[in-house]
Symmetry: C2
Subunit: 397 residues, 2 copies
């Protein structure tokens, strides 16, 4: 366990200042005047408002947790999961009420990770999701595995339930109400994803794209001269879907940040887009995906075929070998690789990176099969599990 939330701060304002970067915390930009290259700034401590000029403007306003209309987030006991302050508040609430009932609303990555960590510290927790399985962005057979993993850790799961509201008493939450049940709750954690913080951009007339995010090109340019955007407030091009997507992930934010930083400094760099890669852990299991799966393939009208195989993280005869399940999708006719999903023991998850690399280069399933991947009995079989899946899939394409 991490000792203190302060350990999670990647870089302090002081570290930025030492690097020669002016940092103004507790100052909010409230408006942008694109024509005059000015931003309106409010000092939150003094309430003083002033205008500051810029040569180039980089929007990195991030995202905020989704709060459904049915929820009054101002109730005591209701928490989002986005900032370190959220983490501190949740920690404080847990410490103050050791016997509290915790309900997590939303069974995606954030919801499942919250639930798993609560179980790890011995807390009772229920995850509510409207879909038939947790992590339903995966294919049904894979999300079923995730649901079983969660259940095996003692996480209570309420599926196919739609949130209808919160019961409260005296401004304090008491239960989560769905269309099928009432779940008593002293602490409610919202894991329903995030939305881009793009109001500032929108009010300045900077074009928004998919999901209401600031639309950027592969140089993080917004289309407005001298205005760039990067990270959770911006969209990104998905090279597999061949369309823009809103995927607020740390990996994209870091890479877009680098490209935008280069552009601000007058240098060149290109953000090649995303392939939809993500990984997480539940107990000892690792869950990873990249590219597109059943749902996207259907909605994009692609003629897809899948192979689902089971292999092992190490050669089967080696101590410590554990099962790994790989599902691989390809396009009939072209043979193009479309995506992969992995659920398995330690060492399984990061194997998705080979497929993520292959997707970025528009490789075929046959190409994947020919890759010279590393083998040693303690680390992999002679055919890596993703290649075992490719070997089966290639026959159907």
């Amino acid at each position: 366990m991490v000792g203190d939330t302060d350990d999670l701060v990647v870089r302090t304002p002081e570290a930025f200042r030492r690097a020669g970067i002016d940092v103004w915390i507790r100052h909010r930009v409230t408006a942008v005047d694109l024509g005059r290259h000015l931003v309106e700034v409010t000092d939150l401590d003094t309430a003083r408002t002033y205008w500051e000029s810029f040569d180039r403007l980089l929007l990195a306003t991030g995202a905020r947790p989704v709060i459904p209309d049915a929820i009054d987030a101002s109730l005591a006991g209701v928490y989002g999961v986005k900032s370190l302050d959220d983490a501190r508040a949740i920690q404080h609430a847990l410490d103050a009420a050791p016997g509290a009932s915790v309900v997590v609303v939303g069974g995606g990555y954030v919801g499942v990770e919250m639930a798993e960590n609560l179980r790890r510290i011995g807390r009772s927790v229920t995850v509510i999701d409207r879909n038939p399985a947790l992590m339903s962005s995966l294919d049904p057979d894979m999300s079923q595995r995730v649901t079983e993993l969660a259940l095996s850790l003692g996480i209570k799961v309420a599926l196919e339930e739609n949130l209808t509201g919160l019961d409260a008493h005296g401004g304090v939450v008491r239960a989560v109400q769905t269309d099928r049940a009432r779940h008593p709750a002293d602490i409610v954690i919202l894991g329903l994803g995030v939305r881009p913080e793009a109001e500032l951009a929108a009010s300045a007339g900077i074009p928004l794209g998919v999901g209401g995010a600031v639309h950027v090109d592969d140089h993080c340019r917004t289309g407005i001269q001298d205005v760039l955007a990067a990270g959770d407030c911006a969209d990104a091009y998905d090279v597999v879907r061949r369309q823009y997507v809103y995927q607020p992930l740390a990996t994209h934010a870091s890479k877009q940040g680098r490209i935008a930083g280069l552009a601000v400094a007058g240098r060149s760099g290109r953000f090649p887009g995303v392939t939809g890669t993500a990984v997480t852990q539940i107990g000892n299991a690792e869950i990873a995906r990249t590219g597109i799966g059943e749902r996207e393939i259907r909605s994009l009208n692609i003629d897809g075929a899948a192979a689902a195989i089971s292999s092992t993280t190490r050669v089967g005869y080696m101590p410590g070998a554990s099962a790994v399940h790989v599902k691989l999708w390809g396009e009939r006719g072209s043979g193009r690789l479309l995506g992969a999903q992995i659920v398995g023991g330690p060492g399984a998850g990061k194997r998705i990176d080979v497929v993520a690399t292959a997707l970025m280069m528009a490789m075929t399933v046959e190409d994947l099969l020919g890759l010279d991947l590393a083998y040693s009995p303690g680390l992999s079989d002679t055919w890596d599990p993703v290649q075992v899946a490719a070997r089966v899939l290639v026959r159907d394409l």
Copy 2:
């Protein structure tokens, strides 16, 4: 530890027969008549010799351990490392002499793996190598790390020593003699690599290539009508060096075997070549490489630049994070990625696969930097260590 060497048999003759494949063990092919499509076979049990016809012939004669002229391998106590019989013989010798001095000649992958496993079962072992470090196919700075890892496990290492002979008494080995020392030894294990078993092919007039291996194209064809070859007896095209190489590895053998099998069955498949990927473990450390390093880059007259970085297998604040050292090579001007070497804790080694994939697709270092690789604090930093190295290297290209 694996319970029994029999557990290491991937497929028994009976399993092949059940699959409808005739298998003749203890039968040696002693000649090939290419013109008449015949092979001469000797039954080793009856000494009967006969001719058998073929439509297509696949040579999969494998390799045998290198035995230097200075060594009399017929001495008792001297062992190669190639077959399961070798493993059984070494195991038997170790069991019979718990206090035996063991010397491993050769500090490459096989030698280091042997030494590490001997230490694991509590045996004293010395590795002799003529180079200034173990695993000297890596760059000097990385092979130095490997040497230090071996020393930390209590492996004795004798470097820059050239084998001159074996001391024996009554047909039993007593010591390994080098140009600098005499190493007492009851058991001598030869880890000096392997040579292709290509005499049968050569005597039939089938062309040999690099290292005396059977030369094959990307369909495992030998250039002789209806004669194919695959595995440790054959060469392979290295897409990074852009030349043929002899790399007798299980991964290549499996993939060539598939392609040759398809060809024998009249179907098509292409072996795209190799990128020189290998991984091994020493204690808890993982050591991996792909592509080319300092030595090859110099000999190929490539204008190369390298970046060597240290990162962690997980985000630094996570329990279980351990150091990972990545060295990445690229070509100045073109920006082409040339190779990588990794030494690090659990989870470090298989990260080489991303670079192996990138090399197969002739990606640039900039391309590597843009990849959408998986991030979760327990499995990786937001920039995977190979991308941290790319971020440094890209400035020098």
